[in-house]
Amino acid sequence: MNSAIHHPQTGYTHTAIGLHWLIAIAIIGTFSLGLYMHELPLSPQKLKLYSWHKWAGVTIFLFVFVRLAWRLAHQPPALPAAMPGWQRSVAEATHVLLYLLMFAVPLSGWLMSSAKGFQTVWFGVLPLPDLLQKDTDLGDLLQQMHMLLNFTMAALVGAHAGAALKHHFLDRDEILARMLPFLGKSKNGEPK
């Protein structure tokens, strides 16, 4: 039961862990849906998928605000003392970029929808204001932007996950376990 009480220096809060995985799964799902749907020929199914993608994007956008607020209010645990300085810098930069992209990706999608003349109506109920006037050329540009931001994020998520696995299997430190508490228990016993 010790693991239920997280000291700021040794572990993430349950809320931080919950938000991390909730948003991670939502982002991977919404990203995959985006990859799949944009090649489809126009059909009712395609229109549905686009709407679902946009609803998911808006939902993630909201959760990211909660997550950032939580992150700012709760200091994350320190990195292992053995980590070289350059790795700390890269880890720090990756996290900052991932946070920026968690805002930039849904925002670019929202802007793109506005510019293309397809308003976002959250869950088909709540219309979001159009941030831009309809402008097809700008819409195409923002589509490129949305795609570029997404692929940048995918690359960073890959690096982020790869680094976590490297820490777990090669360095054998607690980096991955503190975001996946059950790993910590089975491997190193109760994390202190």
């Binding site: 126009l42 009712p44 229109l47 686009y50 709407s51 293309k116 397809f118 976002t120 109506v121």
Partner: protein, 191 residues
Amino acid sequence: MKFRLPGLALAAILLSAPVAQAVEFTQYQHGRSSLSFVYKQMNVPVDGQFKSFRAKIAFDPAKPAAAKAEFEIDLASVDAGSKDANDEVAAKAWFDTKTHPVARFVATSVKPLGNNRFEVAGKMSIKGKTQDLSTPVTVTQQGSNATFDGSLVLKRADYGIGDGVWADFGTVANEIQIKFRLVASAAAATK
């Protein structure tokens, strides 16, 4: 600027002269007319318009019962909000513009409703299907021009617009909000 004033004054007299008497508006002005619509897909309102359409109008506000109006739309001139949508809407399931390039409305009666409003009833033909249609129209006279404004809701299923996979209204709603503005000027001959 000064030497233009007499010309303007003369034009104003000429233009206002017919308004004082009964006047019939017969010259359709395409450049100032518009035909737009809003449809909902997944509850998202999307704006569209037709670029090519024409009208034959003969309207004397004093004799609405004698008014004549005929309206034709080239369906292939649709802008349904995106290139994908335009290609789709021209296809067989929607307008089938190859077989039915033109939609036509022919007015059969015009009744005054007061306050420059008139109830226009007629037959609307789209895609080989003809339905009765009536809509209030507001007429605004300005100089030698009359503007006919109106909006109505057309149900796409009444005309078989959006068949097959699109027939379900869950994605694209049945009701299409249509807004039109037609401008006609008084013919020189009727002065």
